[in-house]
Amino acid sequence: MEITRKAIDSLRIEHITKRFPGVLACDDISLEIKKGEVLALVGENGAGKTTLMNILMGLYHPDEGSMFINGEKVHFRSPNDAFAYGIGMVHQQYMLVPNLTVLENIALGYKKAWNPLKLNLQMVRDRIDEISAHYGLSVDPDAYIWQLSVGEQQRVELVKTLCLGAEFLILDEPTSALTPQETDELIALLKKMSSELSIIFISHKLQEVKDLSSRVAILRHGKVVFQGNTIDHSSSDIAALMTGHEVNLPQNDAPACTLGPMLQIRNLKVKSDRGFLALDDLSLYVCKGEIVGLAGVSGNGQKELAEAINGLRKVESGEIVFDGVDIANFTPKQVIDCGMGYVPEERNTEGIVPSFSIKENLVLKDVESEKFSNRTFLKNSVIQKNGEDLRTQFDIRSPNIDIAAGSLSGGNIQKVILAREISRNPKFLVAVYPTRGLDMGAAEFIHKQLLQKRNEGVGILLISEELEEITNLSDQVAVIFKGKIQKVIPASEASRRRLGILMAGVEDDEQI
Amino acid sequence: SQETETGDDDVVKIALIIENTIDDKGWCQAMHDGILLAQEQNPGEIEYSYSEKMKPVDAGSAVLQYAAEGYDVIIAHGAQYKNLITEMSEQYPEISFAFGTSSDIVADNVFSYMPQSEETGYLNGLIAGLITKNNNIGLVGPVDGGDAARYNRGFVLGVEKVNPDAEVHVAHTGSFSDFVKAAEVAQTQIKSGADVLTGSSQQALGALRAVADYPDEDIWWVGQDLAQLGIPEGYKVLSASSYNYAAVINTIVDYVNEGVLGGKNVPMNFNNDGFIFEFNETTKDMITSEIASEVEEALENFKGQASHPTVASWSSVEYNN
């Protein structure tokens, strides 16, 4: 790019402090990163990682502290100033406008193409081609964002940042929504890039941190509590430093279930939002007291399956026999009343009513039950007590239960949903990506809860892209591909490699 | 407020309550101008205050306030205020009230006044019926009610009298004040061949303005407001008439000075000089002797007797709706 830009040899922040009303998000943080380094930034949910990166991008202005580039003090007023230094960021929540095309989204930042009377889209297209070719990242410039899967959007974000000339990359949890393959590809790509670029990499997955980074910094409660070279420390060391205790993700080693079928899905056909068959003759069985992990690349019908089971999507044909009753095309309410529990993918917008208080969200599905109301009037004291109890039981971190659930951190929102779904004593639970974006401590907790439910005889359909999560928790692993179940195998036989091959759509795996 | 009944006994304090504004070139301005004229005609005898844009609920507040301030005559200019006036007249028996259009006598301290606008409509109808070449006449109505309904029906009677072949095309805007829509109505009528148009209430100005957009064509306007003669569009106006509210005010003031606070109906017609009718000087050549004599004859008749048989049937005139 032609704009005058100094290459960054070193970027240093000193004594950065940032307050939000009632929260000290960054507390006197000092860090340095040199050219060509990959710095991994880890820490629990809410530790202040994203806030710090937003400060680097000029999106937030620190209350105290300063930033130095090549030893010179700089002051970023807006992301444009950061771009001018070649700093670019892939945000935790993707910053793509859904009803614009990939091309337009990139053009939005590509000011060279901004001829006042005409947007020079050809120029942007050329730039995309150039970047795609250089890094081997292919995107369809003419696709609308809303048509893309999460993985594809992630790639668009990366391409966008690179097109705008970033040489100093900030990646805020880039892999949290990616499939294992996508994750592997991305990590490989980043490794390759790290020869040309400096990278700050945020992740909750310590394996990636080990794979990619040269240095690691740990944030806790807004403070840097540790800095060091990655090779000097094992994953479990880092995990312990991060959470303050040993993290042991639990394993499902109970004997296989014998309690009989709970959910029998036969020949299910369901259409996607865009009108094609997302589930095509899908059949799947789950027993009582059994966890079936559904592995698959996202976009192969997982979302539609979960929604169809829960009455949120029309079933074209087929049966969903739940505890002996065909619940296909029941209303959500009827499905809930049959004893179904559901942890949805979109926790912020679907799983909770963001503006409602925590205690209200905890009774979202039960306001008409005898426990919480006497036909018309709510029993507020019971609702209050229910909230208090669940908050303690599920370790929901919040000052009180009257604050809006939407203001909680992602992990705590997930705990609210889980608390509600589990405390309702369901016969069955559909859990979609239950630990996406959560820190290890929170993930550990949620895994324990799921296993405990299983042992109490609840059947669980666990939809996840996290292979480790699936193999750790499941009794059986089903692989979904293009709306069909590719294969169901016992968890003990589900190696990462074998699952990967099945997920890619290869039929017969035993020979390989 | 502080004021009490200690003021000059010969000054009559009049308060006016109107739904629109004093400069609406229509119903409300006519009354306002009438009171100003009466004030002029009787120097020092009338004190006057007004409240504009009075929705029904606001009108009540205004009456209460005027009553407290010691006004002698409170005029609520519109039949929609009838109920309010009836109630307030009970509460304040010492104050004189007036409202119109109505001939109802609701209490001993309430006057009502009734413009018999079918008379002015009739005169304009005669002219329109004789002027039209296409036998196509446009009538731009606001809402089919009140004063406008009387004017319109009188107009139809007038046309029928002199030109049974002419068709009067009536269209209503649904609003007294939306003159943009009135212009749209007039344009529609002109496009479909109307060559004489008329209309009443303040919205009518929009229609007249639309007529004036055809300077070179034989399209004419017969108006219901003398003020229409003096404006730039006046060159399209053949005739106009006006309410003479000063006469009504003078009558009421005379009664009040005699100690009669109400219980009377004050009609307005040509017979008691409640209306004024004029041809437009600038378009005088359009007025043939036939027209002039028809109008003259009708006017003589109206002036001669209080209720006139030719327009008495106004309320049974049916046009499209």
Partner: protein
Amino acid sequence: MTNRFKTGYKIGVIILAIITAMALGAVILLAIGADVFKTYIVILTRPLMNKIGVTEVLLRMVPLSIIAIGITVAYRSGIINIGAEGQMAIGVLSTTAIALLFPNLPGYVLIPFAILAGAIGGAAWGFIPGFLKAKLQVSELLSTVMLNYIAAQLYTFLLRGPMLDPAEMTMGSGTPQSMRLSKNLDLTRFIKGTRIHTGLFIALALAVIIYFLLWKTSFGFKLRAAGASSKAARYGGINVPKYLIIAMMISGAFAGMAGSIEIAGVHRRAIEGVTSGYGFSGIVVALFGGLHPAGIVPAAFFFGLLIYGADMTQRIVGVPANMVQVLQGIIILVIVSTKMIINNPYLMQKVESRINSFRKKGSAQEETV
């Protein structure tokens, strides 16, 4: 943040806001050569100086608060109801129809019956946009605007035709209005010499009822959930379209009742202009009141004061009637801005740290000097 700073900040902002509002109004007042100072004094104090003034303010508070509470129900379910004007008109018509059909029923039967009719009429008119939105995805902003015009024409049609006062035919000129309705429908005016009527208590009772309905019942919970996040509500087993429609019907019913009460308490016959713009002011009141009955009742009183006080200025100060609207507009614009500034903790914090750093600098400079 210290409490002292918070109060100081809020007071500072409010004073600034008052000055801004007055200055903006003064520009227009000066342009037309009116007495700026006197105008403001009249608006803010004159209505509260005597019995008539206060009761006239209360008189406006009745329909304003009822409509605003109805709008709140719709808003809480996720619908912006700008159709209260039309719903109120239909309420007036329904009440009038009942009173014309059964004039001889005793008051204790006729009044509830007629108000119920108004509620049903308004609910029916509210049902249309609710249904269109819930089932056919028609924006309520479009349908309610259109339905206001339709209601207005229906109103004239009925008052000019089937409901026309027979006296208007014989003694008048067919002005569209009904006859004086049965005295049995009259709501008592309980302070002599004023117009304030028992509708005031109905309004207050309705406020309490809606408070309980929305915040104390499972029905209200579901309705609010549907409005706060339709996606989450659907997930939670709530029939969102049903609640949208019901909320719109309640909203319409309230506007309809406001019409009934206005007729029974103030006008006593159906005339043109009864709705008086309350449908729009009601939106302002609902939002001022924080979409909560406890806030709406005082907000309705304040707005009633504003309408009435500004109205008095034309008689006392002699400004044209339009100036009333100007001042109302300015006050609304300034108040909403002020509210946002006061309730923005981020801004407050920023101001505080600016002041602090300014102080620090100041004292540092002093030291170096």
